[in-house]
Symmetry: C2
Subunit: 333 residues, 2 copies
């Protein structure tokens, strides 16, 4: 039976409507990946100005020999030092400023988040933390985000696995909604909304996809898209920059587990991965987390521009399907 | 120079970034339209249960001979009388209920909003008002909307021109954002935010696309997508149901003018048209209006799921381009 579900983390209502049917994987598979890409070693000059690189063999900056590389986004913004809003009570604007970087996660264009060695992914996750801390500390920054777009249908600029970092001096609608929902919850019920949801999900288990000592992956109660999956740290903090070094291998584990489950269950779909975080640590209400959003269906019908979401896959079904995909992986020779 | 602009009607910031370039019309033209469609006369039985029809020749219900026809949406919801939210402070849900109707606007599948006779469009606009009033009066309804999806890339179910009506007992995120912005404005500055923006736009003119005695079409200051165009009534009211019968010909005029300008300038793009309205008339702050959103670009880069919008076409340029398209229409033989 179709249900309306209220997103506890925002103001949206979602219509969970299995009757509408999932048209599976309209956008096809992101495989095969090319052997070489514009971000491959040897193409450094064209790929974009090098901001930072990990070079184990002490190779020269701007050339090959790197393990991970941070470059300026083609549409990089400008120094935020002189950010100033202009205008009045009707129209407000500001010269755009902020920081936009691309992290090339591995020299090999076919080395995806789930296929790269876990130890390499741990280094990538540590690099996210370092870059984010640096950008969050720039003047006037109000919003930071890490995103990974995988596949053209998910808006990817490159097929070569990469992440994007953004730090801007203006607020983001989704963070503001989540912060508002979490603050209201804190006032009305005490404590952290995310921690309480996590506790409830772990008690019920029907929407849990995977979990380990430090992280839990769930299909959220009011999933807006089919197979939307969140990864939340058990330890409360508002910012990804606060992630403890000794939990990074566990984060790498659960990320690889979830992405492999999505790939097996949905044939390597395009997807977006978003790290929702505040720039500042130690906020009592906000709880950083990662959202994985496979792009399986075109938005259509009454959700277009209406502020509604229609999700044909109940999150309980998605979670069960992903758990089954994981069980099959385990029995595979 | 790229600018951040704050949406005065919501919480979003838009990055107006002409440097990123508009990839024109990725989705192509919606033309040619088929001569016949599943909604054409003769297909009534398959098209869906008839709720209402205008039948000038007193033809039998459920058969051909209609001028306009209202049918149940294939995923129609159920009676809202027994709407009841269940759950607790974390998880709230309700059996989905409400009303979803399709208005087949003309028997001829090739008769679009801009190509149909103006007198027919006036009848269509009057029918919108009648159906909306009826649905807004059903029990527990909190949100109503009229939308037209034109072209598959805009989520259209059919190529045959049609509108969709939705009435549900849950709130819509976009209306809530607009209502909140308008209420805050009313408290802080007095009066109606929309009326004040309209006055400012008419004084400046650079974002005005077209206007007549009763309606004004503008490219909004913080346009979220290229060539986004709004039509606002000069007379303040919160609901489309309050539209005065004697202004319907003027509304038909400006709608046809704007859609023709978009078609000429952008080669008949897919688009969405949304009537933003409250179910209730006489709200002091909210001001009903129509939003036209051509679908020209795929969302990409940092807007995906981030709550940001990146618009490569400054609204001042879009408005000028559309005014030029209109001027060319006038000199055409």
């Amino acid at each position: 039976m179709p249900l309306f579900r209220k997103d506890p983390f925002g103001r949206a209502w979602v219509l969970i409507s299995p009757e509408r049917g999932l048209v599976p994987s309209d956008f096809g598979s992101v495989l095969p990946l090319p052997e070489r890409s514009p971000l491959s070693p040897g193409n450094e000059r064209e790929a974009g100005p090098e901001i930072y690189a990990v070079r184990p063999g002490a190779s020269a900056a701007g050339g090959p020999g790197w393990r991970m590389r941070v470059i300026a986004h083609p549409a990089a913004l400008v120094d935020s030092r002189n950010f100033r809003e202009e205008g009045d009570h009707l129209f407000r604007q500001a010269v755009s400023s902020g920081y936009q970087e691309i992290i090339v996660e591995h020299p090999d264009a076919r080395m995806t988040l789930d296929s790269m060695p876990r130890s390499h992914l741990v280094d990538v996750l540590r690099l996210y933390r370092e870059r984010l801390a640096l950008l969050a500390g720039k003047p006037a920054i109000r919003h930071v985000q890490i995103s990974r777009n995988v596949g053209r249908a998910a808006g990817a600029l490159f097929e070569h696995p990469h992440a994007q970092l953004l730090a801007v001096p203006v607020g983001s609608r989704w963070v503001e909604e989540e912060v508002e929902a979490a603050a209201r919850y804190g006032t009305e019920h005490g404590g952290c909304l995310f921690c309480d949801v996590l506790r409830r999900e772990l008690a019920g288990r029907e929407r849990v996809v995977s979990h380990n000592e430090a992280y839990v992956a769930i299909a959220p109660y009011a999933a807006k898209t089919p197979f939307e999956t969140w990864i939340l740290p058990r330890a409360h903090d508002s910012a990804y920059t606060a992630v403890a070094a000794n939990t990074l291998p566990l984060l790498a584990d659960i990320l690889q587990t979830v992405v492999r489950a999505l790939n097996d269950a949905l044939d390597h779909p395009p997807y977006n991965m978003l790290v929702h975080t505040l720039p500042a640590e130690n906020d009592a209400h906000f709880h950083w987390h990662i959202e994985l959003l496979p792009r399986l269906t075109q938005q259509a019908g009454f959700d277009w521009g209406s502020g509604f979401y229609v999700n044909p896959t109940p999150p309980e079904d998605a979670a069960r399907f992903l758990r089954e995909a994981l069980a099959l992986q385990e029995v595979r020779p």
